[in-house]
Symmetry: C2
Subunit: 334 residues, 2 copies
Amino acid sequence: MNDRQTIGETGGEFAFIDRALAQAARGDQRIIVGPGDDAAVLRCGGEAVVTTDLLIEGRHFRLDWIAPFDAGWRAAISSLSDLAAMGARPLAGFLSLGVGPQFPAADAEDLVRGVAACLEIYGAALAGGDTVASSSGVILNVCLAGEWQGRSCLRSAARPGDLICVTGRLGGSRAALRLLERLGPGAAWEGHHELILSYSAPHARTSAGLWLTRQDAVHAMMDISDGLSSDLWRIAEASGVRCVVDVSALPVSPAAAAAAHLTGETLADTALHGGEDFELLFTIAPEGAEAVLGGIVIETGTQAAIVGRVDEGEPGVFAADGAPIHPAFEHFAP
Amino acid sequence: MNDRQTIGETGGEFAFIDRALAQAARGDQRIIVGPGDDAAVLRCGGEAVVTTDLLIEGRHFRLDWIAPFDAGWRAAISSLSDLAAMGARPLAGFLSLGVGPQFPAADAEDLVRGVAACLEIYGAALAGGDTVASSSGVILNVCLAGEWQGRSCLRSAARPGDLICVTGRLGGSRAALRLLERLGPGAAWEGHHELILSYSAPHARTSAGLWLTRQDAVHAMMDISDGLSSDLWRIAEASGVRCVVDVSALPVSPAAAAAAHLTGETLADTALHGGEDFELLFTIAPEGAEAVLGGIVIETGTQAAIVGRVDEGEPGVFAADGAPIHPAFEHFAP
């Protein structure tokens, strides 16, 4: 395969993907049957935790903004973040890839490498997949299976009196996207390298999720994929509670704050409505807060901050001054 | 929601999918955590068998040829057939669905119902999913997890001397597609109802796969998804053997034979190269053939026929007269 060859010119086969798959799962004792048969067989210890995420070029990523490797990486992170929120240990990923015949074969290989490398770093193997011809853009679906620890902190488990916490800092992905839109990829990457990098190669909070799930004081948990405002609404509705956010307490990264200044967006909007930061949102009993917020740093190297509280009342999300906070995310926003 | 409402007009939510998901998994004791959280938790008994299949409108199905419910059904069958070949018991499915804002909401609901109904009939629950806006056509990915029986008959396990067998009859889907192309959906459905129905609502060989996997005489097994010629090549290469097919022994359904006559295709081509019949292809030690081919009918109600033998030699697929048989299926055939 040379660098300019398209998928169609490679002879109509995804041989490199078969090779990548075969390499990825080799030597992993938890993969009883790996790629190459009709399905994979995983040793998962009694219970399996499974999530699936579909990403479509143009909607979830743009290949003129980020490299194919990064698009693959982000697809994997999206699923790893879901498992982190369930307190599950990543085990095996399954990639469905749709690309057109004109797509460069080297780029397709980079996409697969991005998925495989990301999974490997978080302790999972790329154990299977499906490759199909797409007439329109790149389609990635990552399905990820993990081992359960015997408990998950569900969205429905928030209780009145709980404190609302988030890991890390919010708004980075949103700020990066705004800069990419406004400046174009060249200037955005050059002038705001750290911020764009946090967007193109994000982390999942796997170790923090595993640790938080073992703390009895932690009640509800989910990952922030659609933005804090949207995801708090999900907890409010699932738990039948009212969430009150101290907007001024929301942690925003300095780089995201600088970018928000450039694009004219308020810090509050950046932090409240920014999606795809892949941080964890969780609620804790107030008496356990000190131990949890101290322990998470020591045990997992992850910062977490209190950003609000859970009250009794009609499900909803409000600022401390009582102003309603609406969800940012709509699948088909006009 | 009225019948003419588009997905976009429903308010940008896939609320009906959330409802369908919540209903589908209710009461299944194997689903510890069902839809509505970041991932599902499944009780799978130590090992999980996982497969994933991506289907794209225009490439894998046409919604002017089959109903949305049937497109969903076929997507589920595609994964169920993979698990059947691994001898796994279906447990839980995960649907990723991409549709555009102009897509009728009622059709999207039918698609999801097709997936859920099919999974349910085969003993699995729709336990999770992901819904996204697609700018181009309908995209379905079904990921399916099952329980392992402790053995799978892998593609690499065929041995020289084995007999090659297939369940059911071949060529039905190919013949149906040719008729749909040639006559259009109206005339094809009217004149060839049984044949088109076998295409639009196929079965998976779940019980036959479970039973065959428990027979020591059965060595290699896979489902026929891309056509017997292509799939025999996979066994030949994985096992390092030569497969010899008695083309005249291939079982073709009478309806498919009649259709092949109409479209001018030979029976051999219909049976050899037709994909998506979702039958099982397996090899058995000759001394076990009688017991297996008798037992499979009595125990599972499934017919199976001997269609060839496995020889030593360079990997390849040949007719009984020595003529080479080439694989029919290419991902990106010109």
